[in-house]
């Protein structure tokens, strides 16, 4: 899987591309924005083709370490296959999920300014 940091700032945008499973999940630990408890991150999942429970657990782990769990990581552009994994595990309850990245960034920016 490829992790691309599209923008930095109050709300960082990270894109996942490929497959997020047990072999690629450890890569999330290496990304600074994902692992900064105070950094709000929008993760664009448009090009994420596949996720399994290891990948899901890694994303939940990112949310877990964010100080403001549910707002520290916002997810956007899930395809139906990825969305299904979040739904059947009930993990969608832990996240704000947006249909497009722009809306997620705007929401994240609002949250950031409220918290300052």
């Amino acid at each position: 899987m490829i992790i691309t940091e599209i923008s930095k700032g109050d709300v960082a945008i990270i894109a996942f591309n490929g497959t997020l499973d047990a072999s690629s999940a450890p890569e999330l630990r290496k990304n600074r924005a994902l692992n900064d408890p105070l950094q709000t991150v929008v993760v664009d999942l448009q090009k994420l083709d596949f996720i399994d429970s290891s990948g899901l657990g890694a994303i939940v782990g990112v949310a877990r370490l964010k100080d403001d769990r549910r707002f520290g990581i916002l997810l956007s552009c899930m395809n139906d296959r990825v969305r299904k994994v979040f739904e059947i595990t009930n993990a969608q309850k832990l996240f704000h999920i947006f249909d497009d990245t722009k809306a997620a960034v705007e929401y994240g920016a609002t949250r950031q300014s409220t918290c300052k």
Partner: protein
């Protein structure tokens, strides 16, 4: 007609995609549909996910992490049903685990839940020192 295919491979995590994509190809034999990532075929997607989970579990719960074991996967292909069994030599386990408590942001424990949700039938047997988890789904 019932056909059987057996795949034997090292129990290493790097082989997970090999197993799941092979399973997709086998499932596509039943659906008769192509295998593009955006295909959205529920039957194929379900097997890709379930086998990824089961194979990962077999690798991660290996009794000996120093040397990869051999994992055997048996595909039983019927006109309207696919059954996949994964055999490993790990310690015995139960598939009747409780669902993870999502409110506590658990990072583990979703695998068997996903398998149960996407397959029609999941069984576990212990035979001659082997675990055999069998997953089946009708077209």
């Amino acid at each position: 007609m019932k056909r059987t295919m057996i795949l034997t491979l090292p129990g290493e995590i790097i082989f997970t995609r090999v197993v799941s994509q092979t399973t997709c190809s086998v499932a596509a034999l039943l659906t008769g549909k192509s295998l593009s990532a955006s295909d959205g075929n529920e039957f194929t997607n379900a097997f890709e996910l379930a086998i990824s989970e089961a194979f990962t579990n077999s690798v991660l719960h290996s009794a000996c992490q120093c040397e990869p074991q051999t994992i055997t996967i048996t595909f039983t292909i019927e006109p309207r049903q696919l059954t996949v069994s994964i055999h490993d030599l790990n310690p015995p386990f139960s598939i009747d685990t409780p669902d993870p408590d999502i409110e506590n942001y658990p990072e583990n424990g979703y695998g068997l839940l996903i398998i149960r949700k996407v397959m029609d039938k999941v069984t576990y047997n212990r035979e001659n020192g082997s675990n055999i988890i069998t997953m089946s789904k009708q077209l």
